[in-house]
């Protein structure tokens, strides 16, 4: 019970990352699950779960009008707690994390999203009379909704879900968990593919391949490839200036 409460608290606090802390990324699975790990006295095991879910969900980001984004903060809190409290079933928990996160989105549509819309309408009405006090209260109430409902949902999820999860692990045959283990190696491909949708173009493709080659063939670490990427970015930035100048020069000549 106390653990369920703590996990729910972590989920609620990490969920308002965007809403009060300035999007520090404590909402991401790597952080959420490590914190959940502390609740169960095994932060490293929590972190291991978080790292895998982080890879899987790398491309699931809240960008622009990209609505219906899976609630991965809630999913990672719940599923890492399931994995840690059962002691086994890391792969099963990982498999469940994305569907549970997707389900979490519908809860958002039923609770904080409509409630905050009502608050925002109230705030607009207050603006008409320059009632800044009410506008400020609406803003803080909005924050409360973003915290409270995820907290509540995870708390209920912990009480209901944990026994279900234990049962699930017992009934799933070994060849399936082995298979899921193999799949969890492949699943990060989904994360990266989702991410590529954000910036990948045919023109920029060579840079992705440079990154691939320096790691696959030359064995560079992630820090190494980040440095290579930074150098390439500076080169591209500088060269694009030259191009602009050349274009301008051409125009002048004409």
């Amino acid at each position: 019970m106390a653990q369920a409460l703590l996990v729910a608290l972590i989920a609620g606090i990490c969920k308002i990352d965007n809403r009060i802390f300035g999007m520090t990324m404590i909402q991401r699975p790597l952080i959420v699950s490590t914190l959940v790990g502390f609740v169960y006295g095994d932060p490293v095991a929590g972190m291991m779960f978080g790292a895998q879910f982080e890879l899987l969900s790398m491309g699931l980001v809240g960008i622009g009008a990209h609505s219906g984004m899976p609630e991965i903060t809630l999913g990672s809190a719940l599923c890492s707690a399931f994995a840690l409290s059962s002691g086994t079933g890391l792969e099963v928990a990982l498999t469940l994390a994305l569907p549970i996160s997707t389900f979490g989105t519908s809860i958002g549509y039923l609770t904080w999203i409509p409630l905050n819309h009502i608050l925002s309408e109230r705030s607009k009405k207050a603006a008409e009379t320059a009632d800044t006090r009410t506008m400020e209260i609406c803003q803080w109430l909005g924050l409360f909704n973003y915290f409270f409902f995820p907290f509540l949902v995870v708390f209920i999820g912990m009480l209901v879900g944990a026994p279900l999860f234990e049962w699930l692990i017992e009934v799933i045959p070994a060849f399936i968990t082995d298979g899921i283990n193999v799949a969890s190696g492949m699943l990060p491909a989904l994360g990266f593919a989702l991410l590529m949708q954000l910036t990948y173009t045919r023109k920029l493709a060579p840079y992705l391949f440079i990154g691939f080659v320096v790691v696959a063939l030359m064995g560079l670490s992630n820090v190494g490839v980040a440095i290579v990427g930074a150098i390439l970015a500076v080169l591209v930035f500088n060269n694009s200036e030259n191009q602009n100048k050349e274009v301008n020069a051409d125009v002048n000549e004409i």
């Binding site: 990324m25 404590i26 109430l141 190696g185 492949m186 491909a189 991410l195 790691v215 990427g229």
Partner: protein
């Protein structure tokens, strides 16, 4: 901007109020006007200072900022700085066209969230989580810490200097930013860095190995994986990622792809291929 230097009402302290309030900016989200309530909330201290004694003008300004607004969170302090400068000018100059304030806000939303998302979601976060995850996989609790540090240094710098720089730029902001295609160049550079790191992480983080060893009778076996490794190590993860990317572009839902991968993993294991 010449009028501003004569009577400067907005102080550094007011700008810092904007900086702090911007953290709460996305807390009340409207389905149609998006982050508008938060923008109004954040700009209140400046409006009160400029129009405090004039209730009518204050209400007008509050309503002005309750109109649609949406942006990458880290870019909002910059917009708040610009708007503060414009409101200051509007409060002094009765001829100032106040509709230009919202026009500038709307004009900045698109390009700024484009550049902001590329930098923050597509580059800083990828580098931070890439390094953080690989440390975490080795069992080091530094992983999550490094992730937060790498991501948040640029995050907080952009927020802090954004509000100061935005105020300084004031109404000249759009021309300065768009001139010379600076924003486009920076976005492309950020995309290059992000993609390079993604390429590297496909090689280091995705694992797909064929365990099948074909047996052609007496002592003649063929290790399928070694052939792929001979061609290029990690070529299967690369192929898989591009295949998934292709599916996403065709409109296949991520959850469906995920289920597909899990089924493939179980089937592959069952038949001894993977």
């Amino acid at each position: 901007m010449s009028t501003k230097s004569e009577t400067k009402k907005i102080t550094k302290k007011d700008l810092m109020a904007l900086f702090w309030r911007a953290f709460l900016l996305p807390a009340c989200y409207s389905m149609d006007r998006m982050q508008a309530p938060g923008f109004a909330y954040s700009i209140i201290p400046v409006l009160k200072k400029l129009y405090g004694d004039n209730k009518e003008k204050l209400a007008e300004a509050c309503m002005r900022h309750s109109e649609v607004y949406n942006n990458t969170f880290a870019c909002s302090p910059f917009v708040l700085g610009i708007v503060a400068a414009m409101e200051e000018e509007a409060s002094e100059n009765p001829d100032f066209d106040v509709t230009s304030i919202n026009a500038i806000k709307v004009a900045l939303m698109g390009p700024l969230s484009g550049i902001g998302d590329t930098f923050f979601w597509g580059t800083f976060r990828i580098i931070g989580s890439g390094i953080g995850v690989s440390l975490a996989m080795q069992g080091s609790l530094l992983g999550p810490v490094i992730f937060l540090i790498i991501y948040n240094i640029p995050n907080f710098l952009v927020r802090y200097y954004g509000v100061l720089y935005g105020y300084k730029l004031g109404t000249n902001s759009i021309e300065t930013l768009v001139a010379g295609g600076l924003m486009n160049r920076a976005t492309t550079a950020a995309a290059v860095m992000g993609l390079t790191v993604i390429g590297g992480m496909i090689a280091s983080m995705v694992s797909l190995n064929i365990t099948l060893v074909a047996n052609f009778g007496s002592e003649v076996t063929l290790d399928v994986q070694s052939i792929f490794d001979e061609i290029c190590p990690k070529i299967l993860p690369l192929g898989l990622t591009f295949f998934v990317y292709h599916l996403l572009k065709k409109g296949v839902k991520p959850v469906a792809i995920m289920i597909g991968i899990i089924v493939a993993g179980i089937a592959g294991r069952f038949f001894g291929i993977l």
